[in-house]
Amino acid sequence: MPELTYREALNEALLEEMERDDCVFLMGEEVAEYDGAYKVSKGLLDRFGDLRVVDTPISELGFAGLSVGAAMVGLRPVVEFMTFNFSVLALDQVLHSAAKMLYMSGGQFNIPMVFRGPTGAALQLAAQHSQALESWYAHAPGIKVVAPGTPADAKGLLKSAIRDDDPVVVMEGELLYNIRGEVPEGEHLVPLGLADLKREGDDVSIITHGKMVHLALQAAGRLQREGVEAEVLDLRSLRPLDVEAVLASVRKTNRAIYLEEGWPYAGIGAQLVATIQEEAFDHLDAPVLRVTQADVPMPYAKNLEQLAKPNVERVVDACRRVLYRD
């Protein structure tokens, strides 16, 4: 199995899907001539031409809405947001048009499209460029949200998202583009709504998504030295959510933490906590804890930024607490 970077895996997914279906086109800022701000679309302009790989003006609302309109009449747009921070400008079209068109038209117009781009903080990019907005999208019925954490999942989920008949938000990790991993060649599809057990363990469940999968695995390694076997469950899809996988893990370990990069208030973890206590209450031996970004805008200063972000220590500490080992 070839080893690819996360970036290459996404590129491969785009390329394969555009070859497979000529209704698929990619649109966004810097995606064509510049080869993509993060080079995810490298080489696609040469391959498919400027009707299918389209540089846009800096008009997130405009090109997001344009793509929804194109999807209404059967095209399958892939919209790249340079980062999801900028997607907020397009939120009207994502929320009011893409998410609701099928419903408010009584089933007449589905929106088969993808909104994708990097989410989450990189390094010292400060408040406006360091946000993990997954919960904003997962909040709205009508949208599907996935957040791949590995190159293989990046390819498999993006391909599935492009083939899906509903609007799918694919939230990539800005700091993941360079990570390497084995990626199946060709037809590798990861179904939406299927979580993946990245590490098995009996003692505590670390449930997470996206980039935080790697932090969770590091924490699990640390815990192993303390004699604790942590399970790392990567949700991969935030909506649909693999509730059964979550419950199975919690039923096994009787304790869980949710690790996410975003803020705690009304975050993805908040939903998970609600779901777990609603459906696995009698299996819990401890409250479900969350490890999230500090509930503040992201500071610039390096030391403050580190304080604001989830880290291995905090994950380990939360695990100890639910294990009553603190």
Binding site: D282, H283, L284, D285, A286, Y324, R325
Partner: protein, 452 residues
């Protein structure tokens, strides 16, 4: 659906009940909540309430008959429902006492301590889980919720999983010390309780036990009814050894002689004051009042053995032994140290009266923290009482006797009274008991002290 009517545990200590009379006859229709029978328990005559509806199809226990708790004594069912199997099976498998409504759900009254002699109370002595001492000590430093949070706390704190496991394994959570935050019982505690002592001590926290001081006898916050003091290794060893030597409660006895001259005089004056109201107090009332006052000053003597902890009570609930026709009942004067002499007097008269008529409700004869038994009126000079677990002592009060004593080189006659304190050595050491008795003696010899 047919409903089996069981002999229910209508008092906390009841093991069997006598059917006084049926208030419904076979063929009567029954609604949920109807009173269907009167049952005489070991303490009182209680009402048995229907827990289903339909027709009282079959009565299986005749009036005057007795049945153990849990036995099916009647069947309520639909008019045409087949009940042969139920009737046939009745008595084969009486349900365990633990399933009875009283004991299964735990004490519902928030401040109700465990009843003397109940299965719950005796459980710790048989199987003392000592596993989680270390953490209990840690938690105890934070709040009063440590140890056994149900007994007198607001509620029993246990994780959902711990509750489920306890239910599945028949572990009574009230006997399980919680090692989680705020005394929460978590699954490892239940597992430790299942396998017995020693299974789940978190090594990292054992050492904190030593750091836990015995508190001086005052509650840390107002509204704290008691606190559970964790057992030191020494105390655990003492407990274990003494149990082995003198099972189940390692008794020892302390006796002191009290000069009742001033109490007798005080009683005279008080009764003169009360005469206008047609009221009067007895010497025993003075004794009760003084015991309550002394316990208030010595909470270490107002304590109970909980198996894994010593529970030190800050409220004084005095059990007063009252002889009844066929035995003994111990009505409780709650917060006796807060009550005046006359009030104590009236209460005990009223409770004893109803006790003799077997009209006491369970909450009126359970929950005492210390008991007093007075056989003075029978001319008994001195005697020893038997401790009522989980209480740690009982005071036996003898008669006042004119006794010649040497005083300043002279022989004088004094009205002397001997009191004997039976102590559970696991809880009370000799000096502890002695200090309490000394205070009691001082109070009775200078009754003005009860005003202080």
């Amino acid at each position: 659906m047919a409903t089996k009517v069981h002999m229910e545990a209508l008092s906390p200590t009841m093991e069997e009940g006598q059917l006084v009379r049926w208030l419904k006859a076979e063929g009567d229709s029954i609604a949920n909540g109807d009173i269907i029978a009167e049952i005489e328990t070991d303490k009182a005559t209680m009402e048995l309430v229907a827990r289903g509806e339909g027709i009282l199809r079959k009565v299986l226990l005749g009036e005057g008959g007795t049945a153990p708790v849990g036995e099916v004594i009647a069947v309520i069912a639909g008019a045409d429902e087949e009940i042969g199997e139920l009737v046939g099976a009745a008595g084969d498998s009486p349900e365990p006492v633990a399933d009875s409504p009283v004991s299964a759900d735990g004490p519902k009254s928030a401040r109700g301590p465990t009843t003397p002699g109940s299965p719950v109370a005796s459980a710790p002595a048989e199987d003392p889980p000592t596993a989680t001492v270390g953490e209990a000590a840690q938690v105890g430093a934070e709040s009063e919720e440590a140890g056994l949070p149900d007994q007198g706390g607001e509620r029993l704190k246990a994780s959902p999983l711990a509750r489920r496991l306890a239910e599945e394994n028949g572990v009574d959570l009230r006997t399980v010390p919680g090692s989680g935050p705020g005394g929460r019982i978590v699954v490892r505690d239940v597992e430790a309780a299942k396998v017995g002592a020693g299974a789940a001590v978190p090594p990292a926290t054992v050492g904190t036990t030593e750091a836990q001081p015995w508190h001086p006898g005052v509650p840390s916050e107002p509204g704290v009814d008691f606190e559970d003091l964790p057992l030191s290794q020494m105390r655990k060893t003492i407990a274990k050894r003494l149990v082995e030597s003198l099972s189940p409660v390692p008794h020892f006895f302390l006796r002191i002689t009290v000069d009742m001259t001033r109490t007798l005089a005080a009683r005279k004056r008080v009764n003169a004051l009360l005469e206008a109201q047609g009221d009067k107090v007895s010497i025993n009332d003075f004794v009760l009042k003084s015991v309550a006052g002394a316990l208030g000053r010595h909470p270490e003597a107002n304590a109970q053995w909980m198996g894994d902890a010593v529970r030190r009570h800050y409220r004084v609930h005095l059990g007063v032994a009252v002889a009844v026709e066929d035995g003994l009942i111990t009505p409780v004067i709650r917060d006796a140290n807060q009550k005046g002499l006359a009030q104590i007097s009236r209460e005990i008269r009223e409770l004893a009266g109803r006790g003799r008529e077997k009209k006491l409700q369970p909450e009126e004869y359970t929950g005492s923290t210390f008991s007093v038994s007075n056989l003075g009126m029978f001319g008994i000079h001195e005697f020893t009482g038997v401790i009522n677990p989980p209480e740690a002592s009982i005071l036996a009060v003898g008669a006042i006797e004119e006794t010649p004593v040497a005083e300043d080189g002279q022989v004088v006659v004094r009205p002397l009274m001997k009191v004997t304190m039976s102590c559970d050595h696991r809880v009370i050491d000799g000096a502890t008991g002695a200090r309490f008795l000394q205070t009691l003696k001082e109070m009775l010899e200078e009754p003005a002290a009860i005003l202080v």
